[in-house]
Symmetry: D2
C-alpha cells in the first residue's frame, strides 16, 4: 500500500501541503487511515515542475517523517504542480529506483496499489515494453513496468487511453498466466500542464481516491478558515486519502473512473474501461513473449 497526492494550482510552497496541512502526506507515512497498513515508511518521492527543464524528482529511502532533506526542499521550493508519494513496499527492495514518481521527459507517474503475483507476470510485461524503453527500467517495482507499458502504448498522446490499454494488457496477461484479480490501482499522471488520475480495480473496491471540491463550495462551508480563504479557483488537489475531516472539502472519485484536472481548476470525469491490447502496437512483442 502507498499514499500519494497531487497539486495543480497557484504556485505553492511544497511544505504548505506536505507538512503544514492536517493529516498531510507526510503524516500519512506514519498514520494512514484508509490503507491496508498505517505505515508507509519504505521511501518517499516528490516530483515538481518549476525552475529548470522538465520536472525535478527527489527520491529517498528514508521514511518521509524522518527525512531532514525533504523538510528542507519542501520549505524552499515553490511549484504550481507537483506529486508526492509515500511507499509501503510489498516485496521489492527499498531503494531510490523503486520510489515513485517515475519520470520520462516531462512526464511523471505515481501509483498506489499492485499487480497481483507480479513475479509471475514480470517477464511477459517487460517483453511488451518498447525495445527502446526497455533499458530505462532501473528498479524492480510493478509500477515502473506499468509506466513503461503505458509509455509504449501512447501515454504521451492520450494518458487515459494508454492506461486503459495498459490495464487491458496486464489483465489479459494475468488471465493467460492464471493470475486472478490482477490490478488494484490509483494512478496519477502529469505532463506539467494537466493532471490525470485513475481509480480502478479488476475486481472489488479499488484504493481510495479523492479530489478537492470547488473552491467556492469549500469557502462557503468553512468561512472562518483562513487557509481555505487563500485558495484560488485554480487550485485542485487529488489525494489517496483526505487531509482533514472537514465536511464538504473532499469528493470521492468513483471506482472505475478517470479524472482530468486542467489549469484553472476544471475537473472532468470519464469512465475508465480497460481495453484489450491493440494488435497494431503490441502484437509482435507479445508473439515473441508467447513463443518463448
Amino acid at each position: 500500500m502507498c499514499r500519494w497526492m497531487a497539486w495543480l494550482g497557484q504556485p505553492a510552497r511544497i511544505d504548505e501541503l506536505l507538512f503544514k496541512t492536517e493529516h498531510g502526506i507526510v503524516d500519512q507515512s506514519l498514520h494512514a487511515r484508509m490503507g491496508a497498513e498505517p505505515t508507509n515508511g519504505d521511501g518517499f518521492g516528490l516530483g515538481w515542475y518549476g525552475t529548470g527543464e522538465g520536472p525535478g524528482v527527489y527520491r529517498s529511502v528514508a521514511p518521509a517523517w524522518a527525512d531532514a532533506n525533504l523538510r528542507e526542499l519542501a520549505a524552499h521550493i515553490e511549484s504550481p504542480l507537483f506529486l508526492a508519494h509515500v511507499r509501503a513496499a510489498i516485496g521489492s527492495p527499498v531503494q531510490q529506483t523503486n520510489c515513485h514518481p517515475f519520470r520520462r521527459g516531462r512526464w511523471l507517474f505515481v501509483h498506489n496499489g499492485y499487480i497481483a503475483d507480479f513475479h509471475l507476470l514480470r517477464r511477459d510485461l517487460m517483453l511488451a515494453v518498447d525495445r527502446e524503453l526497455f533499458a530505462n527500467v532501473q528498479g524492480s517495482t510493478d509500477t515502473e513496468v506499468v509506466f513503461h507499458l503505458a509509455l509504449t502504448l501512447g501515454l504521451e498522446d492520450d494518458p487515459i487511453a494508454a492506461l486503459e490499454q495498459t490495464v487491458g494488457l496486464i489483465e489479459a496477461t494475468a488471465h493467460r498466466r492464471g493470475v486472478a484479480d490482477p490490478v488494484q490501482a490509483s494512478f496519477g499522471v502529469s505532463d506539467g500542464t494537466t493532471l490525470w488520475a485513475v481509480r480502478y480495480a479488476t475486481t472489488g473496491r479499488p484504493r481510495s481516491l479523492f479530489a478537492s471540491a470547488d473552491v467556492d463550495a469549500v469557502r462557503c462551508l468553512h468561512p472562518d478558515n483562513p487557509r481555505f480563504q487563500r485558495l484560488s479557483p485554480d487550485d485542485r488537489l487529488i489525494v489517496s486519502e483526505p487531509f482533514s475531516d472537514l465536511p464538504g472539502v473532499w469528493q470521492e472519485i468513483p471506482a472505475g473512473t478517470a479524472v482530468t484536472v486542467h489549469r484553472g481548476g476544471v475537473l472532468e470525469h470519464q469512465p475508465f474501461r480497460p481495453q484489450p491490447a491493440g494488435s497494431a502496437v503490441t502484437a509482435p512483442d507479445l508473439t515473441g513473449a508467447l513463443d518463448a
Copy 2:
C-alpha cells in the same frame, strides 16, 4: 581534507557551477588536485538562498559524484548565493549532521581544514560555546564546534572579528593542552547578502583558496569563451581550488587573509589576525558553568 565553493552573483542554476563547469566541485569530489587526497567522498552539502525563509540546506552521505538527488536539485534550483562542500572525513563518522554547510538562522558556514587533535580539545571548546547554543550541536565534527564558537563570539555582528576571536580561543586552548599547530583552515560564511572567506593556518601553508577575477579581466583574456561572456560584473566565485586552468581567471587569496564579497561583485581583502580570547566574552560563560 575537503573542498568548497561559493557563488555570489546573478541568479544561477546550481548545476551550471556544480556539474557543467570543467573541474567543478563535483569533479573535485573524485579528482581534487590541490588537497592532501584526491577523493572527497564522505558526504556532500549545499546551502542556497532563494525561495522560502533563510537558506535551504541539502546534505547527503552519498559521494557527490553518485548522488542522483543532487543532480536533480542542482538542475531545478536557481540561486544568487550558494555554498557547496564535498567532505573527506578525518575520523568523525560519515553522517548528515557532519556534512557542511552548518546553519543558524540566515547564516551558513563551511570549512576546509582541521583542528589538530580535536578529541583532546573538544570538551574545552564545547564548554566555551554559549549555553543557549550548546544543544544545537548535533554532530561530531570540529567544524560544527568552530561555527558555534564563532556564533558565541559574535559571528552575526562581525564574522571576521568573530572568527579571529574563535581561532585565537582555539589556539590558546591548544597551547594549554600541549597541542601544536592547531588550526588549518579555509572558512566560508554567508548571511544571504554578503560572503566572507578566510584563509589561515597557525603554522605553515594554509589550505588553498581562490577568488574569481574581475569579470572584465576574465572576458578580455578569453574573448571567445561564451560562458564567460554570460558573466556579469556582479558575479564572484570563491573556491578551494580553481575550476579550470585558464590563466588570469583565478586569483589566489593570500595566507592569513580574509575577504569580503559584497553584492555587485566587490571584493575586499583584509589581514586575518587571530585574537586571544577576550576575558570579557568567555569568562562569564565559564563562570556560568560553575554557577549552574
Copy 3:
C-alpha cells in the same frame, strides 16, 4: 519510544529471535503494542558477543522491517548473548551514531525512554562526563550521554549502582534547571557475561519490561510447543514487550526494579534507588572545567 530485547543463554542464531518469533522485535518495529507509538522505524541496532574481541555492533538507519542486511546477519550469526533495539526518534536525527546499542570495550547499553527536556540539560550532563570519555560521544541522543555518565560513575565496576548514581545526577540536574519528571527508562546493560536491566521512572508508570519465566514453568504450561522444548534452563530473555501472548511465559519486571541475569539463567531482583550524585565524584570534574 523504542523497543529492545536481550538474550542470554545457549548460542542461538539471531534470526530465531528477531524474525522467527511471533511478535519479535522486528515485528515490533512496525506494530508495537505497549508503547506510545506502534512504529519504531528510526533505525535499528544489534550488539552481539561471539567471534572476535568484544561485542560486534551493527547499526542501521533503515527501518528494521526493511533492512536486507539485517536479515542476512541475523541468519548467519550465532551468539549466546545479544541485545537488539528498534528506535523511534524523539527529536534527534536518524543516524547510525544515534542508534543503540552504545558500546565501550566489552560493554553494551540500550535504553527505551527519555530524559525530559534533554536540550535544557545536555550541557550540564555532558560536563559531568569524565574528561577522558567526553570525545567519545559521537551522536546527539540522551541515551549516549546517560551511558557515558554511567561509565563515569563506575558502570564497569557495578552497573546497577552506577545507574542509580547516574539517574540521581540527572534528577538533581533537572531539579536545578526546573525540569519535572526527567527520567523515563528501561535500561539494558551487558559485559558479555552478565546481563542487567532496569525499569524506572521518576514519576508515574515506567516503560514496560518483561523477563521470560523459568524454563521449567514455560515447558509445563505449553508441553506441545516444540520451540519451548528446545529451551534450556540457561536461557533468559529480557524484552520491552512480550513476543507472544501465551500465559505464563512472561513475568513483568516491577517498576523501580533492577534485575541481574547470570549465566545459567539465574534471575535476581533488587530495588532500583537513584542516588544523589556524590560530591566526591562530580565536584572535581566541574572544578577541572574551570581550571582548564
Copy 4:
C-alpha cells in the same frame, strides 16, 4: 571498474584480509593501482560461508573505506571462504541490488569489468534468462544479468562451461546488435566448497587478476614475515590486484584463463574459450527476442 578478492583456506577473521593487509581490498576502494580509476566508492559487498544455511551477503552503498558496519562485521565474522567486492559504477545506480556478490542458493558471483553498450543488449540478454529466474533480477547491472544467464546455462553443474556459454551468447548478441568488443571481465564464483575465477576479454588485455603463490614458496621468500608463517598449505587468495608488492607472492592469471581452487589449496588452470550458445537451451527464447 571494480576490484574483488576471494579467500579459500583456513577459517580467517575477515578483517585480517580486508583491513589488516597492506593494500587490501578496502584500501583499493580508495587507492586502486591497476584499474582505470583509483576510486571504487560506489558500494561494497561481502559474501561469506560459515554459520547458517548458504552464504551470508552484506551489501552497502557506503564506500567501503567509510562503512562502520563493515568494520564491525569483518572484525567479528570468521570464514573459510569468502568474496569481497568494491564497486565503481559505470552508469547504473548506486544501490544495494547493484552491489556484488550476487547470490542464488549456495552460489556467489562477482565481476570486475563490463558488457559494452549494455543498454543496447539488456533486453536480448534478459530474454535469454530462464523464465523461472527472470523475476529474481532485482537491480540494473550487467553483472546480475551475466550471473542469471550463467545460471540458465548450467552454472550449478559446471561453472566454467556455463560461463564459456554465457560469454559466447553475449558476444553473439553483441555481434548481432553491432556492438564491438563486448566483454571485459574477471569473474569469481563459488559454491561454498570450490572457488572458480576467469580472466577474459573479447579483445585486448583483460582486467588484472592474480592468485597467491604456493605457501611454501611464499614462506621461503619471506622467512621473517610472521604473517606469512601463519599461512597453511590450504590457503589461497584470488585478487584483482596484489595486496602488497612483495616479490614472488603473487602470480598473474594469464588472459583467457579459468582457474579452479580446490580445498587444500590446489590451483588448476584451464583455457577459457567462449562457446556459441547451444541451440538446445536458448533457441526458443532467442527466437522470440529476434522476432521482436
